[in-house]
Each structure stands twice: as C-alpha cells, then as structure tokens.
C-alpha cells in the first residue's frame, strides 16, 4: 500500500524537545515540507537562533549554522553574499529578532538580502523562562512583568511585519499563524512563496508566524490557542504586508 502521508526527507528522526502545545514542531514540519517540495535540501543552509529553537538543527537534515542571539540575519547576509547559489533561511523568535537582533533584521531587510526569515512570535522569551519580549501584549504577565506589561513604562508591543513594511526596499512580508489547521495551510503557502522569491533572487522575505507558548503563558495548550486567537490576532493582524514590486 502506498504511503499517503510521510515524514519529509528534510526532517530528522529525532524527537523534539518542544513543550506540548508549542507550535515550533508544526512550523519545522512546514519548512521541511516546502524544502522537499522545492527540491532544495542539498543547497539549503538553515540558521538556528538563540532561544527554544537553538536546537532546531537536530530536527533538520541539511546544513545548519547556529547563531548568537539576534545575529542570524547578519550570518545569512554573509552566506548569501559569498554563495548566492545557496538557499538560506533564519529561524528566529521574538526576543531574538525583535529585541537584541532588531538592527540586524532591519538592515538585512533594507538591503534586500536574498534570504528568508521565519519569525516565530509567541509574545514571550521561551528558553530563558518566560520573560517579557518586545512583542509581549499589554498587561500580559511574564516573569519580568509580574504585574502585567505596563505600556506606559515599556511601550506597546512591536509589530515587526508592519515595521519592516515601512522600508522602501521591495520585499515579501507576511504575517501568518500556526495555531489552527485552517491557518496552517496558509502559513505553508506563505513559507513556500518566501522560498520561491529567494530562489528567483527577487527579494528579502519574512514570514511572521504567531505562535503559542503554553508553558510560559501558564496555560493549557487549548487555552493558549484561545488566547492567541482572541488577544494576539486582533493586534497582530494576519495577511500580506508587502509583496515584491
């Protein structure tokens, strides 16, 4: 009997270390499926961030580099400039990309570097144990905002897709989510489109993926999905923010 559904070749057999209800595993799989479908595993280099996904390289079966916190876009720039034939993506969380790595992502996007960024936004620092991120929602309780994020003190959550869209350089900028199947299908389509633009040498591409972190949000996986949908999605609106001219 033919197998109707199997593990992508780009994914390894390793069991992930991600918590129950976390969407990293789903997003990893989407990337792996896209890489398989585009037939680019043999010329792809992934860049793992600092954060929960630092060990992402254990779950993929192609070349990988491990970044310092926030610096993945600079590394991707270095790779693409000297080896434009390679397909390069960075996989970054919101503390990594929107806080310590803000300079690197803005300038890479503005130069129109021809790589792809998968930006996983779950409104919290995961690996270090639930601290406030630039994307943490107003009044959201974290270990460093124990009374809830005070926007008068810490400002409003940063909308990365909108921020990068303000740049005049052409790019592909979209926000999707991996919290429910109906969204996941669209997210995969966006990831595939992002890689395609890269393969065509068109532009910088980033897919922001709104995600859950039940552990650090102090919720069950189901509560986390509900919270993401009811609190995050109205603020972080889904859709394409920029398409290449």
């Amino acid at each position: 009997m033919a197998k109707a559904y199997k593990k992508p070749e780009a994914l390894s057999d390793a069991h992930t270390h991600y918590c129950p209800g976390c969407t990293h595993g789903v997003i990893h799989r989407l990337i792996a499926e896209v890489i398989d479908e585009l037939g680019i595993r043999g010329r792809t280099v992934g860049i793992a961030p600092v954060g929960c996904a630092v060990l992402a390289y254990n779950y993929f079966t192609f070349d990988f580099q491990e970044a310092a916190h926030g610096r993945a876009p600079a590394m991707a720039t270095g790779i693409k400039r000297v080896r434009p034939d390679l397909i390069v993506f960075t996989y970054q969380g919101d503390g990594d990309l929107a806080s310590i790595g803000m300079a690197e992502i803005i300038h890479a996007a503005n130069r129109g570097e021809k790589f792809t960024t998968i930006f996983v936004n779950n409104a919290v620092y995961g690996m270090t144990g639930g601290q406030m991120a630039p994307t943490t929602m107003p009044d959201q309780v974290t270990t460093t905002s124990p009374f809830g994020r005070d926007t008068a003190d810490c400002g409003m959550p940063i909308k990365v897709a909108e921020l990068l869209s303000a740049l005049q350089t052409p790019g592909y900028i979209t926000r999707q989510t991996a919290i429910k199947p109906k969204y996941i299908v669209k997210t995969k389509k966006a990831i595939k489109q992002a890689f395609k633009y890269q393969m065509e040498g068109r532009c910088f591409s980033i897919v922001e993926v709104i995600s859950t972190c039940p552990t650090n949000w102090g919720m069950t996986p189901l509560e986390a999905v509900k919270w993401a949908e009811e609190v995050m999605l109205p603020y972080y609106k889904l859709g394409d923010y920029k398409l290449p001219e």
Partner: protein, 357 residues
Amino acid sequence: MSKKILMKGNEAIGEAAIRAGCLNYFAYPITPQTEIAEYLSRRLPEVGGVFLQGESEVAVSYMIFGAAACGERIFTTSSSPGVSLMCEGISYIAGAQLPAVFVNIMRGGPGLGGILPSQADYFQATKGGGHGDYRMLIMAPESVQEAVEMMMLAFPLAEKYLNPVMILGDGLIGQMMEPVQFPDDLKSEPTNKDDWATNGMDTRKSNSRNLIKSLFLDPELLNNNNLTLKAKYDRMKQDEVRFESYNIESDYKVLIVSFGTMSRVCKTAIDNLKAEGFEVGMIRPQTLFPFPEKAIEDAVSKDSCNLAVSIEMSMGQMVEDVERSVKGKRPVEWYGKCGGDVPTPEEIMDVVKKLRT
C-alpha cells in the same frame, strides 16, 4: 615578488588580501583604518569580489561567521572600539572553529580614546577580548611590507588551525606610506573544507549534512570542545612562534622587548646607542600569541644582560608576558606612552640610559 611601489599601509593591507586569494570583505568604517574599506570598495568589484559595508561591527563579525562557515576565504578590518564590538563574534567564530582573518589598526583608548596610534589592545587581542577560553593567532607588523607579508600568511594559518587570526597593527602602520613589494599571489586553497563547511550538500556531493555550532549543553562535550581548542593553541605555541632578534650578537646590557611601530623606533635608538658605545639588544615578537617566551628567556639570560625592558605604546600590557618569559632571572622594567604620540628614539635612549644606572 612584484616591483616596488609606494603605498599607504591601509591600502596595501587591502591589496594583500586580494593577492592572498581573499575576495570577500565586510566592514564598518572607523578611523584610522577606513582607507582599507574605501580601497576595497573600488578594488574588489574589479576582481569579481564581494564588498559589503555592514550596519555595525557586531553585524560584520557575524557576516564573517556566515561566510567563513561556508568555507570561503573572508576577512574584515577595524580599529579598537570597533574590534571591541567584534569580540562577541570572534568568540563564536573561535568556539565554532572557523577560519577568518581580522585586522585591528589600533587607536588610543579606553572609550573613544583618540584616533592616533596605540598598542593598548594587546590584552584584548592576546588574552581573549570576547568570552570563553579562546585564543587568536596574533601577528604584529612593524612596516607596511611586513603587514603585507603577514596578511598573506594569515589566511593559510587561519585555515590550518580553523581559528581566527588577527593582524595587530597600530595607527601608524595603517596611515604611513612606504615602499612595498607584494609576494607572489597565494595559489593554495583550503583543502578540507568539505569535511566541515556548510557549503550545501550538493556542492560537496555528500548525503550527510555539516553543522557549525559552539553550543554544547552536555558538560563533558563542552569540556571536550575546550580541550580541542587548547590542543590547537598548544600546537600554535609549538610551531608558530615568530620573532626578530636585533643586535643580539653584541654584549648588550639591556634587552628591549618591543613590537610594531614601537620596535622600529627602538631599532634607531639601539643603533644610536651603539654609536655611543652602549650595547642594547632587542627581541621583537612578530607573533604576540604565541609569544616568543623561550627567545626572551634565552636572550635575557646572557651574562652581559642586566635587565629587560618592555617598551610599548600602552600603559604596561605586554610587560606581563615579558615578566612571565623572564621567569625572575633578571629585573623587568616597563616604559610606555599611550596618548597617540609615538615615543622618539631620543626618548627611548634616555629611558635606557637611566635604566642602566
């Protein structure tokens, strides 16, 4: 060797990299080495190379990481405050065992300091700079000619040890114009990069992937990585010590240890003192790590030698390595200046004469 031409140190350093087969350069402007970036922004496109001005020295150090991890020859240049920012990336590059060349054309510090020549990044270069147990192979040129030769040596050494190599010059080396002859173009290429580089599995016709990382959560594995690094640094100490002896055949009373621009001033002082009938010897480290400990120990042990003096454009950094090398066999003194003025030969002569008494 090319014919002799007059060239500014900074531009010669840029040209030397190209002749060493390095056609990739990322950098951020900072005085007194910006001419390297200016030169290469024109020159690299002529030879089909890659030039990119990064948004910061932090970013540049990771652009270097990314390119080096693909097995491509790569280098950057900066000056003291910029190198401080690069130290984060350098630590990661050393931890992940990647070959890359860094040039530091030193200016005064700490803080913004000044833009004139200095040697005050000796500790930063030789003792780490970034976090963790790592070393760079450090070469210190005393002339534009030597800067060129060291550049061409730096790439094969970085590839041999899979470790960052730094050329540590002072502002004068970068700004000065001198006659220079370029050695023949370097033909060698890194040979084993398919074993480790993330250059795409198709490129190396391999079914297994390569992984570049410096994270080892298992304490035993991290210790092993550090032991591997230590073994490399020990091999460098064994095989890569470079130094020049000056007036070492004489019955010198005083042994100077000095490097870079400072050592050239010392040579003039030594010649003048010799004419006055006072012999002074010198060991000039060409590599600061590994440090020529044995050469200094041997030189200071000569019967005629009463003491050693470390003369530096810093407030006393290399002197600690000189003391370590001398092992208490003779007194060790220090003289230095670190505002941007290079001490004159007369000043050095006075210092040495005073030390004699």
